[in-house]
């Protein structure tokens, strides 16, 4: 595979609490396959898992969102480690760029201002919001489901 063609996105957010392991995870591969899993113990024990093939236009939009976020230039070196509050993972492969970030949950933009890398964390925070917005729009329109 040509290095320029490589594309992969995966996001995970979760925590393990008194209700067990609650998480949201999605992954997009370069052939268009979007895989989504949402597990919460609020209301039900079941994990919701869905898969759909997205068209090239959707991947191109994802790539545009990622490129304009500047997250590919960030570094999670100075970001807080995952803890009992939760864990986030973001992995992106785009052409010859590759990032793999692991950090704790970020409740709001205020949380990023106290960190050692407020700008990088804020970019990460907004990118995650934008990625979720696209994935949730896909889930809502294609499957008529909304995340819990």
């Amino acid at each position: 595979m040509d290095e320029e063609d490589r594309f992969y996105v995966r996001y995970y957010i979760g925590h393990k609490g008194k209700f067990g392991h609650e998480f949201l995870e999605f992954e997009v591969k370069k052939d268009g396959l979007l895989r989504y899993a949402n597990h919460t113990n609020y209301k039900s024990e079941k994990i919701i898992k869905k898969e759909v093939y997205c068209n090239k236009i959707v991947l191109e939009e994802l790539k545009k969102i990622i490129d304009s976020s500047k997250v590919l230039n960030a570094d999670d070196d100075k970001w807080p480690e995952p803890d009992k509050v939760g864990r986030q993972e973001l992995e992106i492969v785009s052409g010859n760029e590759h990032i793999s970030f692991v950090t704790t949950k970020i409740g709001s933009l205020l949380d990023t201002k106290d960190s050692q890398d407020p700008e990088g964390m804020a970019n990460f925070y907004y990118l995650v919001q934008d990625l979720k917005a696209l994935v949730f729009a896909v889930m809502d329109m294609h499957f008529k489901i909304k995340p819990i």
Binding site: V52, N55, I57, Y126, A137, D140, F143
Partner: protein, 106 residues
């Protein structure tokens, strides 16, 4: 790269969604409204749903939308008619959002 008409993105077949057929629209200008998109797209058939996500930082429109049609023919006609059109000085690209199988390498 060369700008191509993305009519149906070639040979890949669209996948039907739970209640209809969904188009993905890119190149939507940042002040676009659902009403504006509706009036552009409902000419081709009944639009059941529009999803127009905002940029979480700026609160302007992020730049894409999903449009759901009740029937396949309306969606096809809308895609052919609107793809490549201008809306507020930006070229819209319209394709199927979902496919029956993986994107084929060209």
């Amino acid at each position: 790269g060369m700008q191509k008409r993305r009519d149906g993105e070639g040979e890949e077949e669209p996948a039907k969604s739970v209640e209809g057929w969904i188009l993905f629209v890119a190149g939507v200008h940042e002040e676009a409204t659902e009403e504006e998109l509706l009036s552009l797209f409902d000419e081709y058939g009944e639009v059941k749903n529009i999803n127009l996500p905002l940029d979480r930082c700026t609160c302007y429109v992020k730049g894409y939308a999903l449009i759901e049609y009740a029937d396949l023919e309306s969606a096809k006609q809308a895609m052919r008619a609107v793809d490549g059109n201008e809306l507020n000085d930006q070229i819209l690209r319209v394709s199927w959002a979902f496919l029956k199988g993986p994107i084929r390498d060209r």
